[in-house]
């Protein structure tokens, strides 16, 4: 095996985190608020995989399209019935942010009801489960390593093409820039935002659907990752959906490889404080450069443009 076990864990964790960061950033770009209900989509994805594997006895990989659809639909419902009404009533960012917390509480309760119903109906445990046994192996590596990494790269390529090469994507970016102006230009702002939210929920759900292949899963697993998701999004730049992949991998690698390095240098006790690392990065970014890596992208873009002109 070329990759050591710790690097396998790091890549899987980072890939899944980067997908979550991308979808989180996409929500932020659309409505300019952090969506705290994001973690629940992860839980929904987890239990779509559970349903496929443990109840229907199919491969959980077959459940990925279903996860995407379910997550997308729920996200659109939240947008239509929570976000839009609040925006229409003149609710500001604070109100919208708090409303996402309420949505999170509401959705997690529904998820708990669903898992309890599964428990009673099928007499199977629904908490603390894994689907590692349902995974395939490729060249001695777990299938989820390849799937998660390839998927995260595919998503970024897809989003790049969508947002820069298609009418819909350009409309989405225009709406995110200036909703009123976009509307004047004839863009159906409501439909465009709905598509963005659909993508957000769908991507978060798929990421959740992959988690049980590597992590012991419960309804609250997404919540435990929320700080890392926000840190990754901030690091990548909250207005830059492509930066989220760098942010996600950055946080994931720092959390695991960085902690391991510090354990060698400072002692094993450092591991206990691993969960503080994303918080420290969050604080550092907010204090030093709230736009995250955006200034670096801008510099690289400028250099590229200058080089292109000189050519």
């Amino acid at each position: 095996m070329v990759l050591s076990q710790i690097w396998i864990s790091t890549i899987i964790y980072s890939a899944l985190l980067s997908i979550l960061c991308m979808s989180f950033t996409l929500t932020y770009i659309t409505v300019k608020i952090p969506n705290f209900a994001h973690s629940v989509y992860v839980g929904i994805g987890i239990y779509v995989s559970y349903t496929f594997a443990k109840i229907m006895h199919y491969s959980p990989y077959l459940g990925f399209p279903v996860s995407f659809l379910v997550g997308g639909v729920i996200s659109v419902i939240v947008f239509q019935f929570v976000v839009q009404p609040i925006v229409r009533m003149g609710g500001g960012r604070v109100t919208l942010t708090v409303s996402t917390i309420a949505v999170q509480i509401f959705l997690i309760a529904f998820l708990d009801i669903y898992t309890y119903w599964l428990r009673v109906k099928y007499k199977q445990y629904t908490a603390l489960f894994m689907l590692k046994g349902e995974d395939f192996k490729f060249g001695g590596y777990p299938g989820i390593l390849i799937v998660s990494f390839v998927f995260s790269v595919t998503v970024i390529i897809f989003l790049y093409r969508l947002l820069t090469k298609t009418k819909l994507g350009i409309a989405m970016m225009a709406t995110a820039e200036n909703k009123e102006l976009a509307s004047i230009l004839g863009i159906n702002v409501n439909r465009v935002q709905m598509v963005a939210w659909f993508l957000t929920g769908g991507l978060a759900c798929i990421s959740g659907a992959m988690l049980p292949f590597w992590f012991v899963s419960t309804t609250g697993l997404g919540g435990t990752m929320m700080t890392s998701i926000m840190a990754g999004s901030l690091l990548g730049g909250l207005n830059n959906v492509y930066g989220a992949i760098i942010g996600g991998f950055g946080i994931g690698i720092t959390e695991i490889i960085g902690t391991r390095f510090l354990q060698d240098v400072l002692g094993v006790w450092v591991g206990e404080y691993r969960s503080i690392i994303p918080m420290l990065i969050l604080v550092a970014i907010l204090l030093i450069e709230p736009r995250g890596l955006q200034p670096i992208y801008d510099k690289i873009k400028n250099i590229y443009e200058i080089w292109g002109k000189n050519k």
């Binding site: 095996m1 050591s4 076990q5 710790i6 396998i8 864990s9 790091t10 964790y13 708990d112 898992t115 309890y116 428990r119 007499k123 199977q124 445990y125 629904t126 908490a127 603390l128 489960f129 894994m130 590692k132 046994g133 590597w214 992590f215 012991v216 419960t218 309804t219 609250g220 697993l221 435990t224 959390e255 695991i256 902690t259 391991r260 354990q263 060698d264 094993v268 006790w269 591991g271 206990e272 404080y273 691993r274 969960s275």
Partner: protein, 450 residues
């Protein structure tokens, strides 16, 4: 005569005396005179009369009532086990017993969740008190017990814990009873077993909470006394989902120890909740050195989720765990069957203690015929001392904590070609003797220790 100061004073005194005499005479109690009269009566009359009077005596004050028992879980994931266990096993048994006694009493349980927070646990206790419920069961975490202890004592409630083990919560003469021995017991027993198995070096992984710290505090001394070297102590934040940093570090440490002592003499002890142990084992695959050694665990050896999630790999690691469950008794075996049918998982020590706690609490209520906690508090130690439950004898010490008894050593094994678990031995904490099941070792292709 002029009314000078002196003259006036004298006049006033005389006037006062006269007035006072008059007043005193008029309010003085009248004298009573008593006269003793003797009279002899010689006339006799015999009167026969039958008096019938109906007297109502309340022999069973609880008749016709519904008695509520409160059950508070430590974390939400426990609810999916506790709810069916109470509904399908504990409550029917309690109500059946009440019927047998002829009491018209119905027991119900009210389930709630402390969500892992001592403050939330206290809130739940207060809420139950406001509902008139004084008997609290569950109470798995020592931190929860400690946070609510004053309230429970001051408000005449009783708490029966199925899982708290911290010595910090060991107080005599309070209203809290714990059906698990404290960490002092386990922390000394585990090194005994390791030593008997032939282990010479261990790495200790413990959760960063009262349970893990409590065990470490005891084992830190007990392990060297058993000539076992402590290679590394890892204290991890409980509830995290990704352990590769620890596993990578351990892989290096264990690798060095294997070179020095040999794989059969090196082990890892996990002092953590079953859920954390599950996460660890699910991520061990690929760390070569960790796959070569035996693992021991406080909650190990019989976890269906472990078998489902980790598969055959857990059989190699064995994950020996000690539980004070007398595996050979019909009572335990019957409970295990019923539990599996209801929950589709195998019961651990928390569940067997929960069952015994429920039976004891309801028996206390039935015998005292009171839903108040204080009569139950008075009677509980005696009841517990005379009760043999699914977890064995439930005798308590002076602090109201379980006395250590017989432990079964569970571990994973191939059973009929499939990963399963079996009892590998028994440890008697009273005389500190250990008996390995040699047959099991031979069946698994291993040499029995010693």
């Amino acid at each position: 005569m002029s009314l000078t100061g002196k003259n006036l004073t004298v006049l006033l005194v005389i006037a006062g005396l006269v007035i006072g005499l008059g007043v005193g005479y008029s309010i003085a109690p009248t004298k009573t005179e008593t006269e003793t009269i003797y009279e002899t009566i010689t006339e006799t009359d015999t009167i026969y009369e039958t008096i019938t009077e109906t007297v109502t005596v309340n022999v069973a004050p609880l008749d016709g009532t519904t008695v509520n028992l409160a059950v508070i879980t430590g974390v939400s994931s426990e609810m999916e086990i506790l709810k069916p266990m109470w509904e399908d096993i504990i409550l029917p048994d309690i109500n059946e017993y009440a019927d047998l006694l002829g009491y018209d009493v119905k027991f119900e349980f009210l389930l709630d969740d402390a969500m892992g927070q001592p403050a939330v646990f206290l809130e739940k206790v207060q809420a139950f008190k406001s509902l008139g419920v004084n008997h609290i069961l569950g109470c798995y975490y020592s931190s929860h017990i400690l946070g609510a202890r004053s309230y429970i004592n001051e408000n005449d409630m009783i708490a029966i814990s199925a899982g708290s083990t911290s010595p910090l919560a060991a107080f005599p003469d309070d209203n809290i009873f714990r059906l698990v021995p404290t960490d002092f017991a386990y922390g000394n027993i585990m090194p005994d077993i390791l030593s008997a198995y032939g282990i010479e070096a261990v790495a200790v992984m413990q959760g960063a909470e009262a349970f893990g710290d409590g065990l470490w505090n005891v084992m830190e001394t007990a392990l060297p006394l058993n000539n076992i070297e402590i290679l590394e102590r890892i204290r991890f934040a409980s509830g995290i989902k990704e352990f590769s940093t620890y596993l990578d570090l351990l892989n290096t440490v264990i690798g060095d120890a294997i070179e020095k002592y040999g794989a059969e003499h090196v082990a890892i002890i996990q002092c953590c909740l079953q859920s954390d142990g599950l996460v660890f084992h699910s991520q061990v695959a690929g760390f070569e050195n960790l796959e070569k050694i035996i693992w021991f665990s406080t909650h190990g050896g019989r976890n269906q989720r472990m078998i489902d999630s980790v598969g055959e790999a857990i059989v190699t690691r064995r994950d020996f765990g000690m539980q004070m469950t007398p595996a050979q008794t019909w009572k335990f075996q019957e409970f295990e069957e019923r539990f599996y049918e209801s929950v589709k998982l195998y019961p651990g020590i928390d569940q067997t203690n929960e069952y015994d706690g429920g039976i004891l609490a309801s028996t206390a209520i039935l015998e005292t015929q009171s839903i108040d906690a204080l009569p139950s508090v008075r009677i509980f130690p005696t009841l517990a001392a005379n009760y043999f439950g699914v977890s064995g004898w439930t005798e308590l010490d002076m602090n109201g904590d379980r006395k250590p008894g017989t432990y079964t050593i569970w571990g994973y094994a191939m059973i009929d070609g499939e990963p399963g678990f079996t009892a590998w031995g028994n440890y008697n904490a009273v005389d500190r003797t250990l008996q390995w099941n040699s047959d099991v070792f031979v069946e698994q292709g291993m040499t029995p220790p010693g």
